[in-house]
Symmetry: C2
Subunit: 479 residues, 2 copies
């Protein structure tokens, strides 16, 4: 970096004598001069109204070509930092607001704000994200992609991804999937938002939701202006037979493969009941298959959707199978619903990265996705077994349910102890969720959920180095 | 693939004699059997109500372990394909809707539906997407990323990207950028949607827009319930001085670096005027810097935002500099506006892929972004010069404006000829836009834009093998 003192004044009226201490940096001199002048104005070393030396003078002082200075002045005049009037020369604009320079960088927000351990629901094990295979898939996909792959693409999502998903979902989840029925979205939340718009457009006013579930999705539906009466969830999952008695329900959001968070697979009779309801009323079933791949004691229960693809909208995502950060999810829709969802998507809106979609398509088509899911199934099963073993040894009174599948289990607690257990864990630096935060009931439902104290424990997410510690604290507070 | 005829009947009541022609495929036998049974039901070879052979019988017929059959039955019962009642054995569920199997794949929608050539606006040259460098950046970024990078992340966008952008924008666009002021979005359209929500939340009802621009953004603002009076655009850009005379305008959307599509840089006096308006009224300036990097005859005009970062929301994107398919854009906001935009984003909503954000952060930090922009600047400049040379030789009557920057130029036409020229080009297989489609005026504006016939020609987008042909047709229809 060359530093230069430019003292103009010689040959200029007195009031204009101005010392410019300019740091000439950067590869190209003109840019260096422009930046230096901009900084001098920003930092108020050059006050608003100050007259600058003529380009000839400054050029001479700096030992640069006059054109260099003239161009720098011209640029700053064009940008509004400087002004030039006939006769009064070049001055610092009076409008510039001086301000500190922006900080070079920032420490990440998340740092250090977290408790030491967390068993909160929602995340898979991020340490297991298959970086190598994902990058290899990206390389194959982007190398082979046609140029138009980098364009906006189509609202449905890349055809490569929809084709790969159609095959995978038919094979692994028993989904009746046709690329034309698939719409890619930036996560389940996004897909549900599109569905809410589409339902409202076809005058659906009421969507039944399970009496245990995530409040953010309930909020999303009610913020969209939909009524959301609760569907009673007991120890066998959602009581779908009740739908027949619920007036003007136009759609129902359920988690048949693995009720969230209670963890039960919807029994055959209740699967039949919800199909009967859909056929009798023309209602739409919203099947949230958020973690259907993860079942440990037998083959995963196939999706409900295959039984009646024209009455069921199937929702899937990579948020549990790979990583939520990818923001990739999909809907498999009845034919008639596809155009309505696309309309809800709107022009340019909501699209997921084309390169990311191509990478996932390749990742699935190559078999890496199946291999990853199988590997995670083993790993999560081991975690689950360690959890069960530790509890049976150190807290044998605790009943564990929802073991068969997914990333979490439910630990039943003595009545009235949920809150104190959560607080005890927090005091030890362990974040855990109580089942009460997932509970949903309304006065007009005509029933009340039995009081249930329990924890919902995500045993999948903790990093290996944190798992033992988290488990130890959990056992302590439950002992 | 092993084929087996399973003829049950022996030892079973007559009505249950059923031939199962099962194709046992797939690596794992049980899955093969489950799929084969599911297909038999789907394809109606097994009609609803049909009683299936006992697991013992079928196992014997197929020469597999009884458990294999029992497990397959159990799985299909759990999924609802089969039913089991005490005494009546296992039957095909009456609810199953038989349907054709889903097609294996689909030809891409886009194929063959396009005219041969296009000079439509909106896209950079996709053949130039730096695949190698992008993949290399992805490798470095994903290899180095912390595990939490694969989590949902924060609504603002990854800190790595916001830090890289802050440095780049300050350096290359004169933006006063601080990572804390930056919010990442999935494209400009998405960012503008968030801004519309935030403006409405603070009771802004009116946003002035340029009288030439893209209708989709005007629609987006008015669909959000905002009034959008036009701001007159003449041959020097937007007449920002008029804002003082426009009642209750709370914000103005402008393209100061390069008016779209007319192609002018906003002159210093008009830059000053819009700042004066903002300061006098407390109004917000929405600066759309969609292609500010591309200026050919001198240094790019710096962003307006640097002059008053607390009254200007700056919008940038990679859609012109890299590829629209990446769906990555950003806002640099006044401090006070950041929380309001984050509120508009809502929980989980709108997030861009974390891996894509990390890749762009690395791509920028490594200097690849600067190199790519410089290389494209040269390439586009050459294209522009070829266009101008060809026109001056073959259609010398045509006046070319908006040459200094961006990816397109305006070709002025004799009055009343715009439509016929576009149709003549279309007849030759060349898509082009007339300036009329970008025109916006309202009755209550108190003025009418002078009638202007012109073409807006994107010379950047055509692939090399299509450029000469497109240019040739263009010259023909203009000659």
């Amino acid at each position: 970096m060359a530093e230069t003192w430019a003292t103009s004044g010689s040959g200029e009226p007195a009031e204009t004598g101005v010392d410019l201490h300019l740091d000439l940096t950067g590869p190209r001199l003109r840019e260096g001069l422009t930046d230096a002048l901009r900084d001098a104005v920003r930092s108020k070393r050059l006050a608003p109204g100050t007259r600058l030396p003529s380009s000839r003078t400054l050029a001479a002082d700096l030992g640069v070509a006059r054109n260099t200075v003239a161009n720098a002045y011209a640029e700053l005049i064009a940008e509004g930092w400087l002004t030039a009037q006939q006769g009064s020369g070049t001055r610092v604009a009076r409008r510039v607001e001086p301000r500190r320079a922006a900080p070079a960088a920032l420490r990440p927000r998340l740092a250090g704000q977290r408790p030491t351990y967390s068993l909160l629901t929602g995340s898979p094990n991020l340490a297991q994200f298959p970086r190598k295979q994902w990058l290899a898939a990206a390389r194959r996909a982007l190398t082979a992609a046609p140029h138009e792959a980098f364009a906006l693409g189509e609202a449905h999502g890349r055809i490569e991804l929809r084709t790969a998903l159609a095959d995978y979902l038919a094979r692994s989840r028993g989904v009746y999937a046709d690329p034309e029925r698939i719409v890619v979205s930036a996560g389940f939340h996004h897909a549900l938002g599109l569905m809410a718009q589409a339902l409202k457009a076809r005058r659906v006013r009421t969507v039944a939701v399970e009496s245990y579930g995530l409040d953010i999705y309930r909020e999303q539906l009610s913020n969209a202006g939909l009524r959301i009466p609760p569907l009673y969830v007991d120890d066998h999952g959602a009581r779908t037979g009740d739908l027949a008695g619920m007036p003007d329900v136009g759609a129902v959001l359920i988690t048949p493969a693995h009720q969230f968070p209670t963890g039960h697979a919807l029994p055959p009779a209740r699967r039949a009941a919800v199909l009967d309801w859909a056929r009798a009323t023309g209602g739409l079933i919203l099947e949230d298959d958020y973690d259907g791949e993860f079942r440990y004691d037998r083959e995963p229960v196939g999706a409900l959707q295959g039984l009646d693809p024209d009455r069921i909208a199937y929702f899937g995502t990579v948020s549990k199978s790979l990583a939520p950060g990818l923001r990739l999810a999909w809907m498999v829709l009845p034919d008639w619903l596809v155009p309505e969802i696309i309309t809800a998507k709107g022009y340019l809106d909501w699209l997921s990265s084309a390169t990311e979609q191509l990478t996932l398509a390749e990742f699935i088509a190559s078999g890496d996705y199946d291999r990853h899911v199988r590997a995670m199934r083993l790993r999560y099963r081991r975690r689950r077994d360690e959890l069960v073993a530790a509890l049976s040894e150190r807290a044998p009174a605790i009943k564990v349910t929802g073991l068969a599948a997914g990333l979490q289990v439910v630990l039943e607690l003595p009545a009235g102890t949920e809150r104190s257990v959560i607080e005890a864990a927090a005091a030890r630096g362990l974040e855990i969720s109580g089942i009460t935060e997932f509970r949903y009931e309304t006065a007009d439902a005509g029933w009340r959920l039995p009081v249930k104290d329990a924890l919902v424990i995500n045993y999948a997410a903790p990093l290996d180095n944190a798992w033992a510690g988290a488990l130890d604290i959990l056992c302590d507070v439950l002992a």
